[in-house]
Structures are given as C-alpha cells and as structure tokens.
C-alpha cells in the first residue's frame, strides 16, 4: 500500500494516510499539532507546516507536547500530538497524572516502530511496552493497518475523545505507512 502510494499520490492527497490525518484534523478543528518527529511522519509534518490552518512545531520531549495541548484545550483550542513508539514510552506519568485524571481529550498519533521489519532491538523491546501501558490505564487505542478504514478510525476516535473527555492513541502500523526500513 505504501509503495503504491509513493508512486501515485500527491503529497496532499486525501487518499494517502497522511492526507487523511491532515484533512480529518482540519475537519475537527484541531489546529495545534506539536510533535517529536519520526521518519514515517516526515510528509505529514511537512504538510502541516505548509498549511496555515495549523500551528505545528517540534517539542524537546513528548510529555512537553502533551502538556501544551492539555493547556490549550483548557483554554478552548484543540490539539493533537505526533510521536513515535519510543516517545510514547516516556508518557506513562503524564497520562496517569494529567490527561486521564483531569479528563483531557488528549489525541495522540503514534508511528509504530519495533515490529514488522524492525532492525533495532531496543525499538522492538520498547514497542512491547506500549499496548500494556495503554491497557493498564484502560485507555482507548486503535492500531490502524488499512487505508480504507483509516478515515473512519481517525474521525470517530477524535470525536469520541472530545465528547467523552478521554485520551486516545492512534497507532500507525507499518501496514498502513510502510514503516521505516533498514537502510544501513
């Protein structure tokens, strides 16, 4: 899927996974998008920067980005955070002490490293901590693997997070994105 996407779709296409993320964020009035980057997220980040609808910027740590979107939501502006698997692994404290107990609709997109062709053993180990942490906090999370379901998952998950005031993690599988492959 990702290979075909590279050949055929323009960067802003709604038919690409990153095009769906951008358009769905926009449709749900999510303007603030801090991130810690990942190779897989490169095109999405570039397109967010290019679109004046969004305020998007890098942070030094993922929990910093969580703090920023939490403050923004309490101030009336919606946000979402982009990160990779190892970044999610730094978030247990802020999820358990800010997002969940204060009932903040934290929306996270996590580019999944550590599986389906991982070449770094540490990444594959840290990946195994992600779903147990999400499950131990009873957090809503979905792993997106198919382009045809992706818009439904993203749009419905954003709306559920906002209306139930509960965080959600959307895990972007290599099956959806192509992932990161070994290149020396």
């Amino acid at each position: 899927m990702a290979v075909a996407e590279e050949k055929t779709s323009p960067e802003t296409s709604e038919k690409s996974w990153h095009g769906i993320v951008l358009q769905t964020l926009k449709r749900n009035d999510i303007r603030l998008v801090p991130y810690v980057p990942d190779r897989v997220l490169t095109t999405l980040i570039k397109n967010l920067h290019a679109d004046p609808f969004f305020t998007t910027f890098p942070t030094a740590r993922e929990e910093e980005a969580v703090g920023i979107v939490s403050g923004a939501w309490m101030g009336g502006a919606r946000g979402a955070v982009l990160m990779q698997t190892s970044g999610f692994a730094t978030l247990a404290n802020v999820l358990a002490s800010l997002a969940i107990p204060y009932q903040i609709p934290l929306i996270m997109f996590v580019s999944e490293r550590g599986t389906l062709g991982e070449f770094n053993y540490g990444q594959s180990l840290v990946c195994r901590t992600m779903r147990p942490v999400l499950d131990s906090l009873a957090m809503e999370h979905h792993t997106a693997t198919r382009l045809d379901e992706f818009e439904f998952i993203v749009d419905r998950s954003i709306k559920q997070a906002l209306t139930t005031q509960a965080p959600v993690a959307l895990i972007l599988s290599p099956l959806l994105t192509g992932g990161k492959v070994f290149d020396k």
Binding site: E64, G67, G71, A72, M74, G75
Partner: protein, 202 residues
C-alpha cells in the same frame, strides 16, 4: 566556586509571600498555572481563583501547560509558577517557548536549590547552575533574577506589557507551602475552564 553568579546576590525570599504579591496584582482574570507540590500549595493558599490551575503530578509541565493556554488565548496574560527541581525536568521546554515567543506568558522560577517536599535534598543544579542563565541561553532573552520583593513586583509589572515571553528567577527559602490544594483534578480543571471563559458552570 565562582561568586559572580547573579543568583547568589539576590535576596532569599519566600514563596508564599511572592505568590501573594503576584495574586494581589491580578485584575484582569489572568491565568496562573501552579507547578506540582509547594508551588501550587502556596498558590492555593494565596486565595483560590477560578483562573488558577493546580497540578497534582506531571512534574515539570507547568510551563508547557501555560504555553498551551497562552497560545489558545493570546489576549489573556498567563503566569506559570514552577520550582527549580521541576524546571530541571523540562529544560528543553524553554527552547520551545523561546521559539514560539508568546508575549502573553510570564514564567516564575521558585529556586530554593532543594527538593523541599521530599526532604530538602539538594538538586543536582543547586551548587553549579544558574537557571536564569540557562533560560537566556535557551533563547529567552528577557530572563532576570529578582533582587528582592520590590524587584519581583517591578518585573511582574514589566512583563504585562513585554513584547515577548518573560522569565523571572526568585531565590526562595526552604519553607514548605502554607496550604494544601484540594486534590480533585476534575473539579480543578472544570473550574479553570470556567475561569478561562471556555465553559459555563452546569
């Protein structure tokens, strides 16, 4: 050790006194984000306002949370009160704030050099680092140590009309907070959103 560290030439003040002086100045429903522990205990003790947000965890995130509020409401002045130990956990956030440069954000670092609440153990920075110099080097050029209480009040006043974010360092004693925040996160968040004009009470 060098004696030219500006922090060493500032008066040792008191967190509750400084917090009370700040609150007394607020006439325009300014937001105040209180960092974990004694910082928000003294904010609570200085008199609850719906525009106060009290952190019950997430050490180090007072400035990022305040940045989010400041970005969401650029016409409202936002203050963030943070301890030195907390700031050490998120020094990188200073560079994010310097890059975004919200002019409506005033940050106060309460520096006693110790983790007072866990038994007053010194921080790793206590004997060697200057947090205001770190802030300046992070791109927050409008960062200053307050020499005394009057200096603190003057810096707060100046920050209200500054053209970029302001950081004020204050050296404080090792006294604990004088109050205890009621630990009800949902109520704290909901009241704060009322205070921010985002929601009406049920």
């Amino acid at each position: 050790m060098s004696n030219d560290n500006p922090a060493r030439n500032t008066k040792v003040m008191n967190r509750f006194d400084l917090t009370s002086r700040l609150i007394a100045k607020l006439k325009n429903e300014e937001a105040v984000i209180g960092g974990i522990g004694n910082t928000n205990f003294d904010l609570w003790a200085a008199g609850h306002r719906p525009q106060n947000f009290y952190m019950l965890g997430s050490m180090g995130l007072a400035f990022p949370i305040a940045l989010g509020v400041a970005l969401a409401q650029p016409d409202r002045r936002v203050f963030a009160l943070e301890g030195d130990g907390s700031l050490l956990m998120q020094l990188g956030s200073l560079t994010t704030i310097a890059t975004l440069a919200p002019k409506n954000l005033t940050m106060v670092v309460m520096d006693n050099g110790v983790y007072q609440i866990t038994g007053a153990q010194p921080t790793p920075a206590a004997a060697v680092a200057d947090l205001v110099a770190i802030a300046v080097a992070s791109g927050l050029s409008n960062s200053t140590w307050a020499a005394d209480e009057e200096g603190f009040e003057r810096l707060i006043d100046q920050s209200m009309s500054a053209s970029g974010p302001t950081l004020i360092g204050v050296r404080i004693d090792d006294k604990p907070g004088v109050g205890t925040t009621r630990r009800d996160p949902v109520q704290i968040r909901e009241r704060f959103m009322h205070g921010m004009g985002v929601r009406e009470p049920l």
